[in-house]
């Protein structure tokens, strides 16, 4: 999937989708409402489809569905809301951000991202925090599931009245907290042994910038400058 036939979103430099997504977040709030955010949502959808991540459109819409529903109820159906224009503008902002986020997720590869960070000379600490956290997430969730099963086998009730379920929090979260602290000890020892402060990584295959990456980042910067400039000069 890394050859010329892979979609643009998979071939892009790890920083390009991040720059584009950040630009979309700023533009969503900088462009004049409601037409600006609506045009931005349409442009984001077109960009994501062209970059070869059309599923991000569906993911973004699924994330936004409950938010769109509540925007309609709060601002259009109920009295005291901000009206249809405000609901459309906010709905389009959230749609553009959610679609860009979903596309970013599809392109995100932790190892390539860390190689790109190492090339830029970012510290081992920052890189370690991101990688170790991404690795810890599924492990601790699996442990939480194992603790839940073990406590249920010992007779802990996880269903029924809310007060009973609330009481189950201590036997479920306490082993989770103490277990994760035990893990900290092992990891700290490993870091000390490796002399974390002295190391600087050299990536074996550093990601390169293509013409498309430069074009996309330049276009995002130009759009941001135009939008922010317009905000400053407009009455």
């Amino acid at each position: 999937m890394n050859g010329r036939s892979a979609p643009l979103v998979a071939r892009a430099h790890p920083f390009t989708p991040l720059v584009l997504a950040a630009a979309i977040v700023v533009l969503a709030f900088a462009l004049p409402a409601p037409r600006g955010p609506m045009a931005l949502y349409a442009a984001t959808a077109a960009l994501v489809a062209l970059a070869g991540a059309p599923r991000a459109l569906i993911t973004g819409a699924i994330v936004c569905l409950p938010l769109w529903f509540f925007l309609f109820i709060l601002h259009v159906a109920l009295r005291g809301g901000d009206g249809l224009d405000a609901a459309l503008a906010q709905g389009a902002r959230l749609g553009a951000i959610a679609t860009a986020s979903a596309a970013l997720l599809r392109s995100f590869r932790p190892s390539r991202f860390l190689d790109a960070m190492a090339v830029r000379g970012l510290s081992f600490h920052a890189a370690y925090l991101i990688v170790a956290t991404l690795q810890s997430l599924p492990r601790l969730r699996a442990r939480a599931h194992a603790i839940q099963e073990a406590q249920r086998a010992r007779g802990l009730r996880l269903r029924g009245a809310p007060l009973g379920r609330l009481r189950a929090l201590v036997p479920l979260t306490l082993p989770l907290m103490l277990g994760s602290l035990a893990e900290v000890d092992d990891r700290a020892m490993a870091l000390e042994t490796r002399g974390v402060a002295a190391r600087r990584r050299t990536p074996l295959a550093p990601p390169s910038w293509s013409g498309w990456d430069v074009l996309a980042c330049s276009a995002a910067a130009a759009a941001l400058l135009l939008a922010l400039g317009w905000r400053v000069v407009s009455p």
């Binding site: 993911t59 509540f70 709060l74 925090l129 989770l176 994760s180």
Partner: protein, 190 residues
């Protein structure tokens, strides 16, 4: 940052996510997604707590592809700073003191959440809080009042439970483990 502090942060962030999963599986209308942030701040001080909160929000955005909630990193920072203050003042030494600090943290976090929810999201954020906001708005309150009441109400209960649970964990720590984290000993007034 020392190796121990560096090793603590990933576990604390993962703890935020895992505790969130536990309450979801229990079907409780709370989050507990700041339990790791509070634990890190109480064990290693304010800056480790702040880094835990911010890294947690960024990693959550990267791992779920949902960048919408990044502005709520500000709330994590406030919680980390207040939790560290609680630890410094022995705020985890008993159930009652933990609960009082939890109420204070909940009020501050709820107020900050309300401002972000209203100013950035026009009152529409996580489904549970937005449902309460919609209900209050339907009862005739203004949008600003509804958002504030919903945010402060949910955060008050949630953060009170978080600080009580972290207090239980800190008081259960064996002395040998607690000795490695000087802030923890002060937090439980040992």
């Amino acid at each position: 940052m020392s190796p121990r502090q560096l090793a603590l942060i990933p576990s604390a962030v993962a703890l935020n996510a895992a505790a969130g999963w536990v309450v979801k599986s229990l079907g409780l209308p709370i989050y507990l997604d700041t339990i790791g942030t509070v634990l890190a701040a109480a064990l290693a001080g304010p800056w480790v707590g702040v880094v835990t909160g911010v890294v947690g929000q960024v990693v959550f955005a990267l791992s779920t592809g949902d960048m919408m909630w990044l502005p709520f990193a500000v709330v994590q920072v406030i919680i980390a700073l207040l939790a560290a203050l609680a630890a410094r003042r022995g705020g985890f030494r008993s159930l009652g003191v933990s609960a009082a600090w939890g109420a204070l943290v909940g009020l501050a976090a709820g107020a900050a959440s309300a401002v972000i929810s209203y100013a950035v999201f026009r009152g529409v954020t996580a489904t549970g809080v937005t449902a309460v906001t919609t209900l209050l708005s339907g009862l005739g309150l203004t949008l600003a009042q509804s958002v504030t009441l919903a945010s402060v109400g949910t955060d008050l209960v949630d953060k009170l439970l978080v600080l009580v649970l972290v207090g239980v964990a800190l008081r259960s720590l064996p002395r040998r483990v607690a000795a490695r984290f000087p802030w923890a000993q002060r937090a439980v007034a040992r």
